[in-house]
């Protein structure tokens, strides 16, 4: 038996619908059609009236979910692509994110964002928006990199009493498989980073699809005798600074990798935190690697050169190790 990242997301939604009558799902083409990526396949059939097709109205979709959440429901909103959440941006940052703080009434909802690049998807179907959402107070921002995390973090996200931005990586949907889902005891709670690979020469702190690129880079460098530690942040906000600092304490060298645009964002945040609290731990200047500072190109040749890859991570690590 094996299960994909996408199937894990579907399974988590199935279970949530089964176990919690307050859960419902709202989004474009998610009912009969099962969603653009089939993350809700058969769910409308199995849970009649609880998986609803929306009009092409991201702002209203989000407001609708907020209203339901305020009343105690647990809506899951599927954006067809993360990129379209720019239309729901106002409702997310100004309405959902501020609601609890302003009124004392929680706003428990999950926005599922099919994120990140795949070949040929171009500037408007490839974005990684976690840095934007993390910037605004009041949101939880999650970026699962594994099948097990996709499952458990989504289930946990649905239980959280705050708005959660759940960044799924489209590149992992079909390709990433696991033999089975972790048990509840094996799961790591939201807010904790995971040491995905232990090492002692340098730490790569990353998340989402880039975890896998980093692991390949670590493999590559292992052949040269370097042991690279790979830290999967899992949750961007809250950010598990302790685990990151502990890793840097072990290795003395830090590379932070993200697929989002370079200015500000998660990678800069990690570096700012590590240098503030763990300056003395660093044996070399911290480095970061992000996508390039242009829109995400359509052509596969260009796209491959736009985001970080195992090759560019390896190169950055070589520089870091050679410092």
């Amino acid at each position: 038996m094996s299960i994909t990242y996408l199937e894990a997301i579907r399974e988590a939604q199935t279970r949530a619908l089964q176990e919690n009558p307050d859960v419902f799902i709202y989004g474009q083409d998610i009912a009969g059609f099962g969603g653009a990526f089939k993350a809700t396949k058969h769910l409308a059939r199995d849970f009649p009236g609880r998986v609803l097709d929306s009009p092409i109205s991201e702002d209203a979709m989000m407001g609708f979910a907020i209203g339901a959440a305020i009343e105690g429901m647990r809506p899951i909103v599927e954006m067809q692509f993360a990129d379209f959440s720019s239309i729901a941006f106002n409702q997310i940052i100004n309405q959902a994110a501020t609601h609890y703080w302003r009124t004392g009434i929680p706003c428990p909802l999950v926005v599922r964002l099919p994120s990140g690049g795949t070949a040929g998807s171009g500037p408007f179907h490839s974005q990684s928006m976690e840095s934007l959402y993390a910037h605004y107070p009041g949101l939880i921002v999650l970026t699962p990199a594994t099948v097990g995390d996709a499952y458990w973090m989504l289930l946990e996200a649905i239980e959280i009493n705050d708005p959660v931005i759940f960044c799924e990586h489209k590149f992992l949907y079909y390709h990433l498989k696991a033999g089975a889902l972790p048990t509840v005891e094996e799961r790591l709670p939201i807010g904790k980073a995971r040491i995905t690979r232990h090492g002692k020469h340098a730490s790569v702190v990353t998340y989402s699809a880039m975890v896998h690129e980093a692991l390949r880079a670590a493999d590559e460098l292992a052949r040269l005798g370097y042991e690279i530690e790979v830290v999967d942040l899992r949750s961007i906000k809250p950010l598990d600074t302790d685990t990151v600092l502990a890793s840097v304490a072990r290795t003395g060298r830090l590379l932070v990798v993200g697929e989002a645009f370079p200015y500000g964002g998660v990678t800069a945040e990690v570096i700012a935190r590590v240098t503030a609290e763990g300056f003395h731990l660093l044996d070399a200047p911290p480095k970061r690697l992000n996508a390039r500072d242009t829109p995400i190109p359509y052509h596969p040749n260009l796209w491959a050169a736009h985001r970080p890859t195992a090759a560019t991570i390896t190169e950055a690590l070589r520089e870091l190790l050679g410092f």
Partner: protein, 345 residues
């Protein structure tokens, strides 16, 4: 067997003098309170924006009078002091919010017209116009999920707010879901300083209803009786499964946009049209004319309103202001997810 309701002289079918009086009561209370708030603002006692409902009280109160407190949903906007009161908002909530008391519903975190009590069916508006309509839709859907099918959700917006994409998306969504939504559009002829000819080009904003498959009404917003009749109908239609209702009230904002604005751009020519009539004066006169109340009864009501306002303001002024040291400075309900160990600033 029910007997057909008999229309009173001066009142549309189905609207009783009692209802009218109830509406008038809240109009009066709102006007009295807002006059006080404006005075406090001008004497420097209020921080932040002060937006008044002067001239819109009939339209606002009539809507809320037709709703069921504790059961329906009412999402007011910046000129709905009258509707808020008619929906049961405590006058102390208002006074405390304006005067920066930490005991107000927003604890000083948000201010003035942004206050709300979502758990009592009154969401707390964000500033971005149009954004509350879809929220009300979601609240209604939640009620339906819970098996409550007869909740009505009402929300208010201005002529300017109809130009937002949020307005459109939410109206359309409500129609697709056939939700019991009532949208009250107070067309007060101006959005801040912008006259309607720079805001829209249709003949009447009610012409938008058909494009959503919503039922639409246009009403003289200065006429309390007419407002009561139209909202009575719209709320009933919504409650009985006829989907979203759009009510456009035609009236004039009898003040500036905010207390900081003298509204000098509002031409005299429009002030002297029927739109420019003061709905409160009209309602008062009507009560006298039809002998629903005597002069002295009205004066007693006015005195009571003044007293209620005075007390609330006095109480709020005695309240403590928020203390930054006592503030949690944490935006999340999920306390275990707070990052308290690491300074993020």
């Amino acid at each position: 067997m029910t007997s057909a309701p008999v229309a009173l002289p001066g009142l549309p079918d189905g609207i009783t003098a009692g209802r009218f009086l109830e509406g008038f009561h809240f109009m009066l209370l709102a006007r009295t309170l807002e006059d006080k708030i404006a005075a406090l603002y001008h004497s420097g006692k209020i921080t932040g924006g002060v937006y008044l409902g002067r001239g819109q009280e009939a339209f606002s109160a009539a809507l809320a009078v037709c709703l069921r407190q504790g059961h329906d949903i009412f999402a007011p906007l910046i000129r709905d002091q009258a509707g808020r009161m008619a929906f049961g908002e405590d006058i102390l909530d208002t006074a405390r919010t304006y005067l920066g008391s930490v005991k107000g519903p927003m604890k000083g975190r948000d201010g003035n017209i942004h206050r709300g009590r979502p758990d009592k069916g009154m969401p707390a508006m964000i500033s971005h116009l149009g954004a509350m309509i879809s929220v009300v839709c979601g609240m209604l859907k939640a009620r339906q999920f819970r098996g409550i099918s007869d909740t009505v959700g009402a929300t208010c917006i201005g002529d300017g707010g109809t130009s937002t994409g949020a307005f459109h998306e939410a109206l359309n969504l409500a129609a697709v879901e056939k939700l019991p939504l009532v949208v009250a559009i107070a067309n007060n002829q101006f959005a801040y300083s912008t006259a309607t000819d720079r805001q829209y080009a249709c003949k009447d904003l009610v012409d938008r209803a058909i494009g959503y498959g919503a039922e639409g009404y246009s009403v003289d917003g200065t006429d309390l009786a007419a407002c009561l009749a139209v909202f009575d109908k719209a709320v009933t239609r919504a409650r009985t499964g006829h989907g979203p209702q759009m009510v456009v009230g035609n009236l004039l904002r009898l003040c500036g946009h905010g207390a900081h604005d003298d509204g000098s751009y509002i031409p005299e020519t429009i002030k002297s049209t029927p739109l420019g009539q003061d709905c409160l004066k009209l309602a008062r006169q009507k009560m006298i004319d039809h002998r629903w109340a005597t002069h002295s009864e009205l004066e007693a009501m006015e005195a009571a309103a003044a007293e209620a306002v005075q007390q609330a303001v006095a109480q709020a002024q005695r309240d403590p202001a928020p203390d930054p040291a006592a503030e949690t400075w944490q935006p999340l309900a999920s306390r275990w997810l707070l990052e308290t160990d690491h300074p993020t600033t």
